[in-house]
């Protein structure tokens, strides 16, 4: 799955996702990716976020919406991402998932839930400082 958040120089935000879902899913199963607020969310007055992982679990908690609303309330993107992951972890300690967050000023962050074989989450960033795609990573909670 890819989840993407884009901001232009004026602070306009868009977000998107694309996926072929989980392997061996029951036919007809749909994950979090096409659900606004779950797979991704964007509000140019607050920020954008995109989630990835086990959509069956993650879509129940609307993590992208939660992260954007936390940024609207003043949380920095890393803290917003961490809170969204922690909210799910409270109910599903072993869920597989991660989220990226960006606010209206171009600050960004990410968070993930640590499970066996998944202790770091990698994501890509491009902005005027990098002027090219740069690989970033975050240690999982």
């Amino acid at each position: 799955t890819i989840g993407m958040v884009v901001l232009d120089g004026s602070g306009h935000i868009a977000a998107g996702t694309s996926t072929n879902g989980l392997t061996h899913k029951v036919p007809g199963r749909v994950g979090d990716s096409p659900i606004a607020g779950a797979g991704a969310y964007a509000d140019s007055s607050a920020g954008g976020a995109a989630a990835t992982g086990d959509g069956d679990v993650m879509m129940r908690f609307l993590p992208s919406y939660l992260a954007v609303e936390l940024m609207r309330a003043g949380a920095d993107p890393s803290a917003a991402c961490e809170a969204a992951i922690s909210r799910i972890k409270r109910h599903h300690s072993q869920f597989f998932g991660a989220i990226i967050c960006a606010n209206t000023t171009g600050h960004y962050g990410a968070a993930c839930n640590k499970v066996s074989g998944f202790t770091q989450f990698h994501f890509m960033v491009s902005n005027p400082e990098t002027d090219a795609p740069v690989l970033k990573s975050v240690d999982c909670l």
């Binding site: 901001l7 996926t19 199963r29 991704a40 969310y41 599903h92 960006a102 990698h122």
Partner: protein, 185 residues
């Protein structure tokens, strides 16, 4: 690291980031950047979890989900369980721009896509056929069914409802094994 514009995406999909960034630099909109960036991943089948030929379902078919959201207008276009159309994010954009709806699903979403000029083609590849074959040979493991008979942890279907539910704790530990860095939303 506060600077604009910004492209950020999940996983190390560098070409998708590059494409979205290039669209912005060329004067494209944020929606254009998201659509083209995600479409790049669909075409390249990023890590097998995006686009055609990946993540076959129980019947061996690849289906696609995609969504695009405009943070200025709060408009959303999305497709789910999309069949036979490779450019899922493009169809999502078409839902946003050419309907008053938010989410189209399944066979009807594919018909909508064809009507909007998207090409219908088989999403199966040799790789997805192989993944499906190995799954069948391995007694259909891993498996997302529960509370059915025969036991989905050891047997393929067809399945029928079973009266005795699996303990919740066991369900959660099985769940953790299923979704991973090679199989995710």
């Amino acid at each position: 690291h506060a600077s604009l514009p910004l492209v950020i995406n999940t996983w190390p999909f560098k070409n998708a980031t590059f494409t979205a960034w290039s669209v912005l630099q060329a004067g494209g909109s944020v929606l254009d950047a998201v659509e083209r960036g995600c479409a790049r991943c669909e075409a390249e089948q990023c890590d097998g979890s995006v686009g055609y030929g990946g993540s076959p379902d129980e019947s061996g078919e690849t289906t696609l989900d995609a969504m695009i959201m405009n943070g200025n207008t709060m408009e959303v276009g999305a497709v789910a369980d999309l069949r036979r159309i490779k450019n899922a994010i493009g169809v999502a954009r078409a839902v946003l721009e050419r309907t008053d709806h938010t989410l189209l699903v399944g066979e009807s979403a594919s018909v909508f896509a064809e009507n909007m000029g998207f090409v219908a083609e088989d999403l199966t590849t040799n790789k997805s056929v192989n993944i499906f074959s190995q799954w069948l040979k391995g007694n259909c493991q891993p498996n997302y069914r529960k509370n059915v008979s025969p036991d989905p942890s050891t047997s393929c279907g067809p399945y029928r409802p079973r009266s005795t539910p699996t303990p919740r704790q066991q369900q959660q530990s099985e769940r953790t094994r299923h979704a991973n860095q090679r199989s995710h939303d």
